[in-house]
């Protein structure tokens, strides 16, 4: 199953709901384009909802890192929402869990963005 995405705006935060696989040749380039397009439009508060992401590989992890750094370099913030156990474990193993700001409640995540 390839990755699908849905983008919505809530209280000035761009929420990107992702589902499926974030892997080399599938979701990773889609994710990169989505984040780039939003940053270019001035949407610099980005919440990536990974709740329905079923699989992620090292390429997908790399894209999450790239998304994080590109949004931060543009003066914005990127947070992660609703990690599955698989994704949570991968971020733990790669020591990225503490790099990302990870939330498990959408409303609280939106509130956590700087005003």
């Amino acid at each position: 199953m390839t990755m699908k995405s849905n983008t919505r705006q809530v209280d000035g935060v761009t929420i990107i709901d992702l589902s499926g696989r974030i892997t080399l040749g599938e979701g990773s380039t889609v994710l990169r384009d989505l984040v780039r397009q939003n940053v270019a439009k001035g949407n610099k508060k980005i919440l990536l909802n990974l709740g329905d992401v079923t699989y992620i590989d090292s390429s997908g992890i790399g894209e999450l890192v790239s998304a994080f750094t590109s949004v931060r370099n543009a003066g914005g913030e990127l947070k992660l929402l609703n990690l599955t156990k698989k994704v949570h474990d991968l971020l733990q193993i790669t020591k990225l869990y503490t790099v990302f700001d990870v939330k498990d409640d959408e409303a609280a995540a939106i509130q956590a963005f700087s005003k």
Partner: protein, 186 residues
């Protein structure tokens, strides 16, 4: 991006034609346990094009064989992910998607483990020179985590230089209750 229906069919064709060896008796040393060896010592080898479709097929085969080898869902997923990473290294970093270069993928169920080898025909890889992806200066790099993940997910990982290319061997031991408690004494 991919139509999974047609992709699946196409790849089964590729795999069917590239099946080199199946059901080989891997060991003759324990003659008194012939039936057991015939059930457990199986080796399957595939020669695949250097494409992303091959990566997906390698991942799928690893998942099937890991489950069939008695690994639970979590362990099977780790094996599947390790094989995916090794296959990406082979077709992308090793073979550079070159249509003239192949990835060779072998699965062998030995008495106490699932042994998987993935080989490419690239310029070679020195595992000793790979940067540590957990080092603070590398933590935010977009790449360089594949072999680290393979090592995290498997029990043993070995590299062998080929001429040309690299062979990586991934080993996951079957727990005692899955192999009738015999391998613990090895």
């Amino acid at each position: 991006m991919f139509d999974t229906g047609t992709l699946g069919q196409a790849n089964y064709g590729i795999l069917g034609s590239s099946l080199i060896l199946a059901l080989s008796r891997a060991s003759k040393r324990e003659k008194g346990d012939g039936n057991r060896l015939s059930m457990t010592a199986k080796k399957v080898v595939y020669k695949l094009d250097s494409t992303l479709e091959s990566v997906n097929e390698a991942e799928q085969k690893a998942s099937e064989l890991a489950s069939a080898s008695g690994f639970d869902e979590e362990e099977a997923l780790r094996i599947e992910m390790a094989v995916r990473e090794a296959a990406v290294n082979a077709v992308y970093h090793g073979n550079g998607y070159d249509p003239n270069k192949k990835m060779t993928l072998a699965f062998e169920r030995t008495e106490d483990a699932l042994v998987i080898t993935v080989s490419d025909e690239g310029h070679g890889l020195d595992p000793e020179t790979l940067p540590d992806p957990l080092a603070p200066e590398n933590l935010l790099k977009p790449s360089g985590r594949g072999i680290f993940l393979i090592r995290s997910f498997m029990d043993e990982v070995r590299f062998r230089k080929l001429d040309p290319g690299t062979e990586i061997t991934l080993i996951k031991h079957v727990r005692s209750h899955d192999a009738d408690g015999k391998e613990e004494s090895k």
